[in-house]
């Protein structure tokens, strides 16, 4: 059974989103996602300044096994990417809720409410 922190919101495509006190939103992939991917060996990060709509492909996580798109769980402008993942992509396996991938300035915070809460995500992944 995977770890699903109660304070986070989740997309059905397995990204987590956390609303920070400054109004930005931090994004990563869930424990369930990293487990399914296996050993992550490369992360293709989005460019800072890029604007995504909710559900847009916003990067790629490659494990030894396969490449998987990461989707923007809500719309917004990328204001930071986690450069540490370039040298240490395995951080996504080791600490999926510590190793964030990018931060967004949301275009519409209400989109967060459309995401799943922890219980909803747990049900979605059948746990």
């Amino acid at each position: 059974m995977s770890n699903i922190p109660a304070e986070l919101r989740f997309a059905e495509s397995h990204e987590w989103a956390r609303l920070e006190s400054d109004g930005t939103v931090t994004v990563g992939i869930s424990d369930h996602a990293q487990e399914a991917l296996g050993d992550v060996v490369f992360v293709e990060l989005a460019e800072v300044g890029k604007v995504f709509a909710q559900g847009d492909a916003a990067g790629v996580v490659e494990s030894v096994k396969a490449a998987s798109d990461i989707y923007a769980p809500i719309g917004g402008e990328v204001i930071a990417v986690n450069e540490a993942l370039a040298d240490s992509p395995e951080l996504l396996n080791e600490e999926p809720y510590g190793a964030w991938i990018f931060k967004l300035k949301p275009s519409d915070k209400a989109e967060l409410d459309k995401l799943l809460d922890a219980a909803g995500y747990q049900a979605a992944i059948g746990e």
Partner: protein
């Protein structure tokens, strides 16, 4: 649900994540395939490969039959225990399967791939007429591959004195029976190691003994990255019926002499040589970050295009490597398209790692 080996429940108990491979539910990894890969290169690991097909061959014409069937020549196996690798070709020279043939007391033992089982057996049957030969498939047997620099020592320590002595005496590419066990110094990882074929009812106990001795359970994920680093082809990916050994880096496995040996596919191969062999299977190394994958397009400036047949991340090199089929005139540089962008790659001989050492 796919077919399962006798060790399936034990794999699950050991935490295996399973994957479909050629109709079989097989362990992909037991936690981290990269970790399992490193274990095999530095120490040793055990793979359940019981999904592969064991075929025992006997009869007066066994040698003549295999000399007709195989591109390599079993006459080279001049004593019991010797083994060789060979492609099994169709009339055009396309590869139906690749296999290892061991010479045994009774005749020969072939180990062929899992996914090709039905068509290989149909082919063998179709080629049987005119030869006094019998073959028997052995689903009653399990196959464990224990691979890595420590594999022979660690396995020998677990077995009877006679089997331990056999393991110490085995030379590379030899396989000898001891009672109802068959112990071979062969493998698919580029490391020293053993492949042990044993009665299925003994498999669970032996596998537990191996794990108890600290030998890491290892899955098909690590097996794939290990064989890719070793430059070994995977049937169905790097070789198939639409390509010959000549365009698959397997020219060495065709025994042209004696010239009068008319093996199936010989004429097709000679015709290809006559017309000029147009492609070759090479290794690629991506110097930038990213991962090469099967079916990505490769272009060679001024020469043409080709395709990656197998690609992954190499845990030993910490970069991505691949096998690719490219135009014969390809030099030492090419470019690969990954998600719409072109990345430069180095073209190398497709043996990246052997016996723990990086060769490129």
């Amino acid at each position: 649900m796919g077919q399962r080996t006798l060790l399936y429940d034990l794999h699950l108990a050991l935490g295996a994540k399973t994957v479909d491979f050629g109709g079989w539910d097989m362990p992909l990894h037991y936690g981290s395939q990269v970790e399992e890969h490193h274990q095999v290169r530095s120490d040793c690991g055990v793979f359940d490969v019981s999904h592969m097909t064991v075929i025992d061959i006997n009869g007066r014409d066994a040698t003549a039959w295999l000399q007709n069937l195989l591109a390599n020549d079993v006459a080279r196996l001049d004593s019991v225990g010797k083994a060789l690798y060979s492609p099994l070709l169709n009339e055009e020279g396309g590869v139906i399967d690749d296999l290892i043939a061991y010479r045994t007391e009774a005749g020969y033992r072939l180990v062929t791939n899992a996914a090709t089982r039905a068509k290989v057996l149909a082919w063998l049957k179709a080629q049987q007429s005119g030869f006094s030969v019998d073959f028997e498939v052995r689903p009653d047997l399990a196959i464990l591959a224990i691979q890595g620099p420590q594999a022979r020592d660690k396995v020998a320590a677990l077995l009877s004195a006679s089997r331990a002595a056999l393991i110490r005496a085995l030379r590379p590419f030899e396989g000898i029976a001891d009672g109802d066990w068959f112990i071979a110094r062969t493998g698919y990882t580029g490391e020293d190691g053993l492949e042990i074929i044993l009665p299925g009812h003994e498999a669970v106990t032996f596998y537990n003994d191996l794990v108890g001795a600290g030998i890491a359970p290892s899955g098909l994920g690590a097996r794939d990255t290990l064989r890719l680093e070793a430059g070994m082809n995977l049937y169905g990916q790097d070789i198939d019926e639409t390509h010959t050994p000549l365009t698959s880096n397997l020219g060495w496995s065709i025994a042209w002499e004696p010239a009068e040996r008319e093996f199936i596919g010989r004429a097709g191969l000679l015709a290809e040589i006559e017309q000029g062999v147009k492609e070759k299977l090479v290794g690629l190394v991506l110097e930038e970050r990213g991962v090469l994958r099967a079916h990505q397009v490769v272009r060679v400036a001024g020469i043409g295009e080709g395709e990656i047949t197998s690609g992954s991340f190499s845990p030993t090199l910490s970069k991505s490597i691949a096998l690719a089929r490219l135009p014969m005139a390809t030099g030492d540089r090419a470019e690969v398209e990954i998600r719409g962008k072109w990345y430069p790659v180095r073209v190398v001989k497709p043996t990246f790692v052997r016996h723990g050492k990086i060769l490129i």
